[in-house]
C-alpha cells in the first residue's frame, strides 16, 4: 500500500461525517511496578468510524487483546483516553454499546442454545415473548434454528462460536468486539464463519473491532488493518484494504489479495530486520 491511503479512511466506509465510533488516543498500559514493570501498550492511537471493519493484527504478546479489553472496559489504561460513541468505556458498557465474542465460545453449559442467546436480554429484564422473538431471529441468522433446544456441548466448535456471535448481537449493539474468535477452529470452519461474519456485517451494518494473528483472515475481513508490533505494543502501521466491498471466497485466490498479504507480511519482516533483536524475550 502506498502511504496516502494508509492514513485516510477508505471512502466507502465513511458513513457519518466526522463522528468516530471508537476513539483510542495515546493509550499506554503498564503492568506491575519496579523491575518487573512491563509496558504492554505504548502510546496507541487510532479511530474507527461507524460501519467499519477494523482488525488489530500482530504477533502474540503485542497487546492486541489488551487493547480490546480496554475498549470493552474490562481493563483500565494507565494513561490515555478511550471513547466509544463519544462516551467513556464504562458508560458505553452500561449502555450496552458493544457485544463481545471471545476465542472460546464461553457458553453456559446449563443453558440451551436459545437460552444462551437470550441471556443478555434476560439480564435486562426483557419480556419472555420478546426474548423469544429476538433469539429466533438471531438463531435463524446464524443458521442454528434447528439446534435451538440443544445444549452447547452437543454442538461442534464452529456452531458454538456461532451461538456466541448470536449472543453478542442479542442487544443489537452498534459495535462488536471480537477477540480471535476463529483461531481455535479448523481451516474449513474458519473460512465459512468468516463469510458468515461478512454477511452479518452487510445485513446489520455493525462496526467490528476484530483481534487476530492471522494475516489472511485480517485481509479477507477488514476495511482497515492496524498492525501492532510487540515489546512494547504500539501501532506499527495502518493499512486500508482496497478490495471489493462484496467479498466472495474466490477473492482468496486473486492477485490483489496476495498483494495485500505481502504488504502486511513485509511489515513484520521489516521490523525484525530493523532491530536485529528477536521480538520475543
Amino acid at each position: 500500500m502506498n502511504s496516502p491511503s494508509v492514513v485516510s479512511l477508505h471512502p466507502s466506509t465513511r458513513v457519518t461525517s466526522e463522528q468516530q465510533l471508537i476513539e483510542v488516543d495515546h493509550v499506554s498500559v503498564i503492568f506491575g511496578s519496579g523491575p518487573q514493570q512491563v509496558t504492554a501498550l505504548s502510546d496507541v492511537t487510532f479511530h474507527i468510524a461507524p460501519n467499519e471493519f477494523v482488525s488489530l493484527l500482530g504477533p502474540s504478546g503485542c497487546g492486541k487483546s489488551t487493547l480490546l479489553r480496554i475498549v470493552a472496559d474490562l481493563l483500565q489504561p494507565t494513561t490515555g483516553r478511550v471513547r466509544i460513541a463519544g462516551k467513556e468505556p464504562k458508560q458505553a458498557r452500561l449502555q450496552r454499546q458493544f457485544g463481545i465474542v471471545f476465542q472460546t465460545p464461553a457458553l453456559f453449559d446449563w443453558r440451551t442454545v436459545r437460552h444462551n442467546v437470550e441471556l443478555p436480554l434476560e439480564l435486562l429484564g426483557t419480556r419472555r415473548k420478546e426474548c423469544r422473538r429476538i433469539s429466533s431471529e438471531l438463531l435463524d441468522m446464524v443458521g442454528l434454528t434447528r439446534f435451538a433446544d440443544h445444549y452447547p456441548w452437543q454442538l461442534s466448535g464452529g456452531m458454538q462460536q456461532r451461538v456466541s456471535i448470536a449472543r453478542a448481537l442479542a442487544l443489537d449493539p452498534p459495535l462488536l468486539l471480537m477477540d480471535e474468535p476463529f483461531s481455535a477452529l479448523d481451516e474449513f470452519t474458519k473460512e465459512k464463519l468468516q463469510m458468515e461474519l461478512l454477511e452479518i456485517k452487510r445485513s446489520t451494518g455493525k462496526t467490528f473491532l476484530f483481534v487476530t494473528h492471522s494475516i489472511p483472515e485480517a485481509v479477507f475481513l477488514s476495511d482497515r488493518i492496524i498492525v501492532l508490533s510487540a515489546h512494547p505494543g504500539q501501532v506499527h502501521s495502518v493499512h486500508s484494504v482496497n478490495l471489493p466491498a462484496e467479498r466472495e471466497n474466490q477473492l482468496r485466490e486473486t492477485e490483489p489479495f496476495y498483494q495485500m498479504i505481502m504488504t502486511i507480511r513485509n511489515c513484520f519482516h521489516e521490523e525484525r530486520d530493523a532491530t536485529h533483536v528477536p521480538s520475543f524475550t
Binding site: A72, D73, L74, R93, L94, R96, F98, I100, F102, T104, A106, F108, D109, W110, L119, P120, E122, L123, L124, Y151, W153, Q154, S156
Partner: protein
C-alpha cells in the same frame, strides 16, 4: 446416560451382578467354614460368622433393625441437611470477599482436626439430648467437605463468563444466580457425596456413646452378648454400610437430575 449404579440393573449387567453376589457368598461361607475347622464354634463365630447366619438374624430381627436404623438415618439426614445448608452458606460468604475467606478458613480447617470420636462425648455432654447430639455431629462432619467443594465450585466459574457478566453490567445478585451458583452446583454435590456416608457414621458414633436408641445401640448390645449375637452384630454393620451407600446413591441421583450438563452425564455421541 444414567448413573453408574442404575446401569447395573440393565440386562447386560445383571449376569455380572449375580456372579459378583454369588462369589462373595461362596468366599464368605468358605472362609467361615475354614475357621470352624480349626476353632470351637464360639471362637469361629465371634471372628467370622457364616453369612447365612448373618442373613438369618437380619431377616429375623428385621423389624427391630428397620426401626432403629430409621432413627439413626433420620437424625443423620436432618444433620446432613443442616450441615449442607451451613456449609453452602459459609462457602457463599467466603466467595464474596478474600478477607472473609482468609478470616474464616483457619477456623473451618481446625474444626476438622478434632476427632469425631472425641468430640461426640463432648457434644453429648453439653447437649444432653441424644437426638440433637446426633444431628449436631452429623452436621459437623457434613459442613466441611461441603464448604471446601462448594467454594472450589464457585471459583471454577470461567473468567470469560465473569467478564461477559461484567460487560452486561450485571448486578451481583444476577451474577450469582445466572453464573456462579450453577458453576458451583457440581462442587456442592461432590461435597455432599463425601459427607452423606460420614453423616451416618458420625450419628452411629454418638449412639455408641450411649444413646437410648439407634443402630449404634444395637451394635453395642449385640457385641455385649458375644458369639451368641455375632450374626446380629454383623447384620447391623452391613445395614449401616447399606444406609451409607443408599444416601450416597440418593445424592448421586439428585446430582444427575439437577446438573445434567456435567461432562460425565452427557449422552455418548454428543460431540
Amino acid at each position: 446416560m444414567r448413573p453408574m449404579f442404575l446401569r447395573l440393573l440393565k440386562p447386560g449387567y445383571r449376569a455380572w451382578v449375580m456372579i459378583w453376589i454369588i462369589s462373595i457368598f461362596v468366599l464368605w461361607e468358605g472362609l467361615a467354614w475354614m475357621l470352624h475347622l480349626f476353632m470351637s464354634p464360639q471362637q469361629a463365630t465371634s471372628r467370622l460368622p457364616y453369612l447365612h447366619v448373618v442373613m438369618d438374624s437380619f431377616f429375623r430381627h428385621w423389624n427391630t433393625l428397620a426401626e432403629q436404623s430409621s432413627v439413626t438415618f433420620g437424625n443423620a439426614a436432618i444433620g446432613f441437611a443442616g450441615g449442607t445448608l451451613l456449609g453452602a452458606l459459609l462457602a457463599l460468604l467466603m466467595s464474596a470477599a478474600v478477607w472473609i475467606e482468609r478470616t474464616l478458613s483457619p477456623y473451618v480447617v481446625s474444626s476438622q482436626m478434632v476427632p469425631v470420636i472425641g468430640l461426640a462425648p463432648i457434644v453429648y455432654g453439653i447437649i444432653h439430648n441424644a437426638e440433637w447430639a446426633r444431628i449436631v455431629m452429623a452436621a459437623y462432619v457434613t459442613f466441611f467437605p461441603v464448604i471446601i467443594h462448594t467454594l472450589k465450585g464457585l471459583k471454577s466459574a470461567s473468567p470469560q463468563h465473569l467478564e461477559l457478566m461484567r460487560a452486561y453490567g450485571t448486578s451481583w445478585r444476577a451474577r450469582y444466580i445466572k453464573c456462579l451458583l450453577p458453576s458451583a452446583l457440581p462442587g456442592l454435590f461432590s461435597g455432599m457425596k463425601i459427607a452423606a456416608p460420614l453423616a451416618v457414621t458420625s450419628s452411629i458414633v454418638v449412639e455408641l456413646m450411649g444413646a437410648p436408641d439407634g443402630l449404634g445401640v444395637l451394635m453395642v448390645s449385640s457385641l455385649y452378648y458375644g458369639s451368641a449375637q455375632a450374626g446380629m452384630f454383623w447384620a447391623t454393620i452391613m445395614l449401616s454400610m447399606g444406609i451409607g451407600l443408599i444416601s450416597y446413591l440418593f445424592i448421586s441421583l439428585a446430582e444427575h437430575w439437577l446438573t445434567p450438563w456435567q461432562p460425565e452425564f452427557r449422552p455418548k455421541g454428543g460431540e
